[in-house]
């Protein structure tokens, strides 16, 4: 009756999602918006990291990735997300994952659901790196597939995952999304930018 509208990410409500197609040639940047992902934040308790790693085999992971790295297994991605913090991502979203992870990690790690707090978008295309460089201080040539970082872009603290050669995934606080979107549209204008609303996208894979 009062269900949330899932056609547009709630944090971009009212924003122009048409992209920027002022150029005669095709867009060199493609932005894919995806709100259909479960993002679970897990924080191992003191001296419980190894046990937590062992428990995560249920999701296909043998260990928690090192700082600045993520790994993938099936529909899951496990990414370092800061000091003693990781994100377990599941795409498409699965409402049962939170409870399952809580059960698996009971007493080993705190689990919270960040699916709504983190807005996720994918930036791809020929000029993806050039667009990223306008806001990101990382050396993207050395930021390889499988790498991730917590950094600033356009005043916004966000998580960046390098998915493949020209595909980056960004996760930012939902409250910043609209402001970031305005910056993104302006910065991508010279490349041309197509926007795709991905309700159920295939998980991109790290090479």
């Amino acid at each position: 009756m009062y269900a949330a509208d899932t056609s547009t990410p709630f944090c971009l409500e009212g924003m122009d999602l048409a992209g920027v197609q002022d150029r005669s040639s095709e867009a060199n940047v493609i932005v894919r918006l995806n709100s259909d992902t479960t993002i679970l934040r897990l924080i191992p308790y003191l001296n419980k990291r190894q046990a937590a790693e062992a428990a995560l085999t249920r999701f296909g992971f043998e260990r928690l990735p090192a700082p600045g790295r993520f790994s993938e297994a099936g529909q899951y991605r496990l990414a370092w997300a800061g000091r003693n913090c990781w994100h377990l991502m599941c795409s498409p979203a699965d409402a049962t994952e939170e409870q399952e992870l809580k059960e698996v990690l009971g007493g080993l790690a705190a689990v919270t659901n960040a699916s709504d707090g983190l807005f996720r978008m994918e930036i791809a295309g020929k000029d993806a790196a050039s667009l990223m460089a306008k806001g990101c201080v990382l050396d993207l040539d050395h930021f390889l597939p499988g790498h991730c970082a917590v950094t600033l872009m356009a005043h916004t603290r966000l998580h960046i995952h390098r998915m493949s050669g020209k595909v980056y995934e960004l996760m930012m606080p939902a409250s910043h999304a609209a402001s970031f979107w305005e910056w993104l549209c302006m910065s991508a204008a010279e490349f041309g930018m197509d926007v795709e609303l991905a309700a159920n996208d295939e998980p991109a894979s790290a090479a």
């Binding site: 009062y2 709630f10 944090c11 009212g14 308790y45 919270t112 960040a114 460089a133 990382l138």
Partner: protein
């Protein structure tokens, strides 16, 4: 070539197939693609293009470079108008409009040239000597008049319609300078596969003379690992090999292309840098050396060779020993008559330059003292070369004086992460530059761990040999001639000004610079400093090395403010944070207010309502029926772990160890120094699971504080902290009918007073399956609940409340009404102002005496327990209609309005619709002892009349808390 009376054929940069129309001072001209405005003006015979800064003397094009001191023009019209742009750097485009500046009413007839007659007054430091009294005249008369008379161009005063942006770039080797040395160094080092970036401030690579290097440039451009940034100026060298550069993306166009910025600022981070910044030719100091037609020799040569422009028809060359063979040959080929070469190394000097708006003749003095006058319209000056050491000097290198080169060279030609080459390193021939640049490129490649061979001994040996063989004649100024001899052309600083400064006791080059303003113009002394130093050397009897150079700081040359701001202007100057209900608030016509970075709903006006009327309606709805308010901005922290309760006990001053599961408690947090930090609520969701809320304003700092406590103070505590502020949308539902409305959206949860009494918390599902957290918490003083749902359901929750509450007259309210409600209730908020203690706030009883916590020790300092401290109280004006402002001061009745009798200040004020009176909260000295006392509220800042008011309890409404427990 219609009208281009000085156009030659064969300019390397010129495309005669593409004529371009442009105007200067409203007059139409034609140039060619490849021209600069300077070259096009010269081609059209326009040699008088500007007036000088102070004396308004006629000036012409002096250089071919960005540091042009004379030919500064105003470019474009309207909002895109830009002042002080060197005509030498303006690439011609069709329709270009430029005008001269610093003249009135016209360039030829400039009334302000009367300043030339006042020259005896306008000497160095004349501000300080002349306009000293009466003192008040300075700001009202002297300064405005001086600024009007001495300014250069003007800004349009309109908003710049173009965009600017920033980008980041990383490379292994950064080569600064795209002359032959830079090209060759980049080409060699790039062969090792390193990521090489070559930055050149001109539109094309090649520097002074690119002839024969076309293949090298083409090969370089074809290399995939090389990035070439033309039209890009490196303006600063910062820590950790970070460089600032500005790319003039669209400055060469009338209007930027679709979606193109005008300029782009690059932050470049590199592992190594090769500096091939070249050298700037210098002038010589002689009488009237500023007349239009006096030009650097290299500039004249480049105008002829590169642009196909004849800068004059009959030339005199004045040199400090250079043979100027190339110039002589170039002029001969261009059909320019060489009237004389005046070689200072042979004792010849120019005594004077005749002419006003153009050179007509020069008077020469030979070694025998005899003079002769030669008719000419061009004086080419070559005083030697100044290596462009500015970037190195920004890193703290003091340039060293080389007697052989008669120039300041880099103190260190190489460091762990940089190498100098080309004419920056003192090399004077193209062959030397190329050979050393290749050596430098190989050395850089070696450093990059590639199979290339080079060593520093060879690198240094080459330079030492070149310096040993250099033998420049030490000549900077002509000793003869009586007219003005300009040192700084742009700021009209003369040889006499420097001499005066030294006579007045100035000894440091830095002081002379500031006293005379020498080197402080837009060219930043690139034309003038060396001559100022030479003049000081002579006046003080010191060597050039002893006088030394001034310091060089970023930027290397002027950078537009727009480039520094980038996208951070207008709405984008900082991020705007939106709550999950933002769209819904917009839809309801809510008015937003900036609260930190957040845009929060301020109030919801109905048609025809004023803000005050809307606030009153919203407050009364919450008091009498039911209202709801977006509280998503509150900080939210998830705390879990075996030591969670113990941790809370340490960070809050009140106890949490015994807080039962399913209960919330108000928490007060102190800083280490005992001052109140923040307040909020803590709810125990499970045995080892807590949900903490903080104020919106302090959410980040509270999180940082407790992370610090965990990571540094008590790392042994087994807890997990997560910032979940963004995960949840929050709505406060308040009013007598709050429970009824809540029950409708949460039919599966028992929210009765028995099941959910005051400070109870429950988790469950609402809205047909949406998980939710309900808290029986009240900030308004009413029966109230805070409802949290996953953020994406925030709008749905608001819609549901609006719909289900319709029967009860539900009303959304904004932060203004929220503030009124909390002031009526007497909850502290803005009173937590980083100066107040718990006791000041009336919360002293919350400070546990049974446990230790952050801030406990220092909260017992005598100063914080002083009975004379200000304490929180309420204020009620004797006349309820009398308003007063937050920030107004409290004085005892009849006390003098003076700081020493100040008794406190108002921290919150509002019109209370509930009480029908203005009310306020204040921090008043010994406030709690003074309940019932009538004081005066004084607001001298706003000049308002004192308001008599009674000190009362700040709990204006429902002091017994009956409503929150109902």
């Amino acid at each position: 070539m219609s009208g281009q009376i000085n156009r030659l054929s064969g300019g390397r940069r010129i495309n005669p197939e593409k004529p371009l129309r442009f105007t200067f001072d409203g007059k139409s001209f034609v140039g060619y693609e490849g021209d600069t405005l300077a070259s096009a003006l010269l081609a059209n015979g326009v040699t008088f293009v500007a007036r000088s800064f102070k004396y308004h003397r006629p000036r012409g094009v002096f250089t071919c470079d960005p540091h042009e001191p004379n030919a500064l023009v105003q470019l474009r019209n309207g909002a895109r108008q830009e002042p002080n742009i060197p005509a030498t750097m303006i690439e011609l485009y069709d329709g270009l409009e430029a005008s001269s500046q610093n003249r009135w009413p016209s360039l030829r007839f400039d009334l302000l040239s009367v300043n030339q007659l006042l020259a005896p007054i306008f000497v160095a430091g004349f501000y300080y000597k002349t306009f000293k009294w009466p003192a008040k005249f300075w700001t009202k008369i002297y300064e405005p008049v001086i600024r009007r008379a001495a300014g250069l161009g003007r800004l349009s005063g309109k908003i710049d319609p173009d965009s600017y942006e920033k980008t980041h770039h990383h490379c292994d080797i950064l080569v600064i300078g795209g002359g032959v040395a830079g090209i060759e160094a980049a080409r060699v080092v790039a062969q090792c596969g390193a990521r090489v970036t070559l930055v050149e401030e001109h539109a094309r690579l090649g520097g002074l003379d690119s002839a024969g290097f076309e293949d090298s440039i083409a090969r370089l451009e074809a290399m995939e690992n090389v990035r070439i940034l033309p039209r890009t100026m490196v303006f600063g060298w910062y820590d950790d090999n970070t460089f600032g550069a500005v790319e003039q993306v669209s400055d060469h166009l009338e209007v930027p292309g679709a979606n193109q910025p005008r300029q782009r600022m690059w932050k470049i981070v590199t592992k190594q840098v090769i500096l091939a910044t070249g050298a700037h030719e210098r002038s010589l100091t002689f009488a009237n050396n500023d007349r239009p037609g006096v030009m650097l020799a290299s500039a004249a040569e480049r105008y002829i060779r590169e642009y196909g422009v004849r800068p004059g028809r009959r030339a005199v060359v004045f040199t400090a020993g250079d043979k100027c063979d190339a110039l002589v040959e170039t002029m001969r080929e261009a059909g320019i008559e060489l009237a004389a070469i005046v070689d200072a190394s042979k004792g010849e000097e120019i005594e004077d330059v005749r002419g006003s708006t153009a050179v007509r003749a020069v008077t020469l003095r030979g070694p025998d003292g005899r003079t002769r006058t030669i008719a000419c319209d061009l004086v080419c000056v070559s005083g030697g070369w100044n290596p462009a050491v500015q970037l190195l000097a920004q890193r703290g290198q003091k340039p060293r004086w080389s007697e052989n080169h008669q120039a300041f060279l880099p103190q260190h030609m190489a460091g762990d992460d940089f190498l100098c080459t080309g004419s920056l390193a003192g090399l004077e021939t193209r062959a030397d530059c190329v050979a050393h640049a290749r050596m430098t490129g190989a050395l850089a490649a070696h450093r990059y761990s590639c199979p290339a061979s080079a060593n520093l001994a060879e690198f240094y040996g080459f330079l030492e040999k070149a310096e040993a063989s250099a033998a420049r004649h030490p000549f900077f100024e002509s000793a003869v001639g009586g007219s003005k001899k300009f040192i700084d052309l742009q700021h009209d600083v003369t040889r006499g000004d420097v001499a005066l400064a030294t006579r007045e006791g100035y000894r440091s080059v830095e002081h002379v610079k500031r006293y005379t303003t020498m080197g402080m113009a837009t060219d930043q002394g690139k034309n003038s400093n060396i001559h100022g130093i030479a003049a000081m050397s002579k006046s003080l009897g010191k060597s050039m090395g002893q006088v030394g150079t001034t310091g060089f700081r970023p930027p290397y040359r002027p950078v537009s403010i727009g480039a520094l701001a980038g996208r951070s202007r207008g709405r984008q100057w900082r991020p705007i944070l939106r709550t999950p209900l933002h769209g819904w608030v917009e839809e309801k016509g809510g008015v937003f207010v900036e609260s930190g970075l957040w845009h929060r709903s301020q109030y919801f006006p109905e048609p025809g309502e004023t803000m005050q009327q809307a606030i009153k309606r919203e407050v009364l709805a919450a008091r009498n029926t039911v209202g709801f308010c977006d509280v998503s901005t509150l900080g939210k922290i998830d705390l879990q772990g075996p030591d969670a309760a113990a941790f809370l006990n340490k960070v809050y001053c009140n106890g949490f160890a015994k807080l039962p599961v399913g209960k919330a408690r108000y928490g007060l947090m102190l800083r280490e120094d005992g001052i109140v930090f923040d307040d909020g609520t803590v709810t125990r969701l499970g045995e080892e699971h807590y949900f903490i809320t903080t104020t919106s304003a302090e959410s980040d700092s509270v999180l940082s504080h407790i992370e610090f406590c965990h990571q540094v103070l008590w790392p042994q505590m087994d807890i997990a902290l997560a910032d979940v502020s963004e995960d949840w949308a929050g709505i406060a539902l308040a009013g007598p009918h709050a429970r009824s409305v809540l029950q409708r959206i949460a039919p599966d949860m028992d929210v009765s007073n028995d099941a959910m009494p005051f400070l109870a918390a429950r988790e469950g599902t609402i809205l047909d399956g949406v998980r939710a957290r309900l808290f029986r918490i009240s900030f308004s003083g009413e029966l109230a609940f805070e409802i949290y749902v996953p953020a994406r359901h925030g709008r749905a929750l608001a819609e549901a409340l609006e719909c289900e509450g319709q029967e009860f007259g539900i009303t959304p309210y904004g932060v203004e009404a929220l503030d009124v409600l909390r002031i009526e209730k007497g909850h502290v908020s803005s009173e937590l102002n980083r100066f107040t203690t718990a006791s000041d706030l009336g919360l002293g009883m919350m400070m546990s005496t049974k446990k230790d916590y952050v801030g406990r020790t220092l909260s017992a300092r005598p100063g914080l327990a002083d009975s004379d401290r200000e304490a929180v109280v309420g204020l009620k004006p004797l006349d309820p209609s009398h308003s007063f402002r937050q920030g107004a001061h409290i004085f005892s009745k009849g006390a003098a309005i003076a700081p020493e009798s100040d008794d406190g200040y108002v921290t919150s004020s509002a019109w209370s619709p509930t009480l029908g009176s203005h009310i306020g909260i204040a921090l008043v000295r010994r406030g709690r002892e003074r309940l019932g006392e009538v004081i005066e509220i004084v607001d001298p800042l706003h000049g308002e009349r004192p308001v008599p008011a009674e000190i009362v309890s700040h709990h204006f409404f429902d002091p017994e808390n009956e409503r929150v427990r109902s």
